[in-house]
Amino acid sequence: MDLTTLLIQCLNSVQYGLLLFLVASGLTLIFGIMGVINLAHGSFYMIGAYLAFSLSTLLGSLPLALLVGVVLAVAFGYLLEWVFFSYLYEREHLQQVLMTYGLILVFEELRSLLVGDEVHGVAIPELLAGSIAIGNGMTYPVYRLFVSGVCLALALGMYLLISKTRLGMMVRAGATHREMVQSLGINITLLYRVVFAVGVALAVFAGMIAAPMSSVYPGMGGQVLIVCFVVVVIGGIGSVKGALVAALLIGFVDTFGKVLWQEGAGALVYVLMAGILLWRPAGLFKAG
């Protein structure tokens, strides 16, 4: 492997890892703060990809579709928390598993009813369609760099939001001392609803910007869900920083695994997770 290929694979790793982070950060926040195991989180990614397809055909432009999609996602997340998830907080984890499993089936079928079961592609907007030369006659698509940039900006924004703002303070406090936050007069119901809506919007957004790079297909949510759970658990449940580190780690291990050792690549991520959990049974970073 020469230096240029190495560079390309590193860029791919970072881009995949950052995309995973967008989905996983919502999952880890929802789990860490509300204590809900949300199996349907992968479905939001799938919904995002299909939204990107439908909206960009409808509106004729991907950036416009992204904008409308995010607004829709926030509204959808807000409503979903209100109608379904707010009943799950007091329930046992296994019942949450059961209900969100039911939601996966419903979302998949609704998608099938509304958009059909075909595999689709989404066109890259013209402005970002090119690729740049990185030496040795190799090129790298601009769109992938754009995705990495956007994800990085979002990660930075989340960091600032969580560590520097009042809302972030409430989120951090809510994760560890739920009752205390409530007794200080903070509207925890609203806080939960907002966090959930943001988590859903992040996953939907990730699905939308990933759509032009991979095809849009039924069942794409299930695959992402499991990898994201791996990310959340390796990083430590509830830790956004942990999710970022773990997502990048998974990105590198998976990408280089596929290049260097085709046969064992699928299992590699799970070997990594098992190894890390046997070494540190509560993940790399403890919640907080």
Binding site: H93, L98, V106, E108, A274
Partner: protein
């Protein structure tokens, strides 16, 4: 934990009698299709009951249980000869003992973790087994492998059962189900079973009382793996082919859904859940192509209306909700009920 009342014993006996005479019923009710469907239900019931021992009884939520089921099925596929029926006894031994051994190895590694982390580590090992069979050529890779003939269970040349016939195979599966449920019920009634329930309620207290809880949990994991291997053996024998799909986390998830749906903690719940899961998915898929919408809706309604699962519909006195493994019970929670 089957309830010790005579009412429940009568119910079990009635259910098994009904199941036993089913293939003898007249054609529109019985018939090959329905007999095979019920065989499938009973195989899933064995699988679900084995997981119930871990999840409902011991409080160990495993999301990698399909590894043992699938290993049992793959053991059959790997040992089956191409041109004649394989030795059933040998395959059965390989499937169950192999799955138990695998469970011993995986169990010894995963017992370090707890709660949600336990769920994820079992998932990781389950996926590991999945990828071993999916990405390597030991048994057909992602295409799976065939079992051309049903296993042959002759005793010294005496062909006492012809598994190629649907009704004979059905009774064979029924026998396996009775054996599996019977041994689980006995196990749960023993000191060992009581200790497992104690571990679910409060592991620290059990350890303080001098129980080697790690060994108990590991033993439960191995027994559950062995029985799942039995289910896998029957699955491979019934369908004649195995694919990596039966090793995947979806399959583990299905088994988990069965026991939550049926009701956690009781063998009856596992059986009821397996029946509901398989029959509802068959029934709904006969109704419409978009059957998962109905099935998903049914699951959501069950969670909303029946927090105890389908077993909560029975006439028994209401039970307190089980403490979850991730939120340890409070100190006032004394396991004084009879769990036998």
């Amino acid at each position: 934990m089957t309830s010790n009342t005579s009412l429940s014993r009568v119910a079990w006996a009635l259910a098994f009698m009904l199941l036993a005479v089913f293939p003898l019923l007249p054609e529109p009710i019985s018939g090959k299709f329905h007999t095979e469907l019920l065989s499938k239900v009973m195989i899933m019931a064995i699988f679900a009951a084995s997981l119930q021992l871990l999840v409902g009884c011991t409080g160990l939520v495993s999301l990698g249980h399909a590894a043992f089921f699938g290993f049992g099925a793959y053991a059959v596929a790997m040992l089956a000869p191409m041109s004649e029926a394989g030795n059933g006894w040998l395959m059965l031994l390989a499937a169950t003992a192999g799955a138990a051994l695998l469970a011993l190895v995986i169990g010894a590694l995963v017992m370090r973790t707890q709660g949600i982390y336990f769920i994820m580590v079992t998932l990781a090992f389950g996926q590991l087994v999945y990828f071993v069979f999916h990405d390597t050529k030991i048994a057909g890779g992602s295409d799976g492998a065939y079992v051309y003939f049903k296993p042959d269970f002759a005793i010294a040349g005496w062909q006492w059962i012809d598994l190629e016939r649907a009704d004979r195979f059905y009774w064979f599966v029924l026998g396996a189900l009775v054996l599996a449920l019977g041994s689980l019920a006995l196990l749960l009634r023993s000191r060992f079973g009581h200790a497992l329930v104690g571990i679910r309620h409060n592991e620290q207290r059990m350890r303080a009382a001098g129980y080697p809880t790690l060994l108990y949990k590991l033993a439960a994991f191995v027994v559950a793996g062995l029985l799942a291997g039995l289910g896998g053996f029957l699955y491979a024998a019934q369908y004649g082919f195995v694919t990596p799909e039966i090793l995947s986390w979806h399959y583990s998830g299905n088994a988990l859904v069965m026991i939550i749906l049926g009701g956690l903690g009781s063998l009856g719940g596992a059986v009821a859940g397996a029946f509901a899961f398989v029959l509802l998915s068959e029934g709904f898929s006969a109704l419409t192509r978009h059957w998962q919408l109905l099935f998903g809706g049914f699951i959501i309604l069950t969670v909303a209306l029946l927090p105890q699962g389908l077993a909560g519909l029975s006439l028994r006195r209401p039970r307190r909700p089980l403490p979850t493994p991730t939120s340890p019970p409070t100190s006032t929670d004394t396991p004084r009920e009879r769990h036998a």
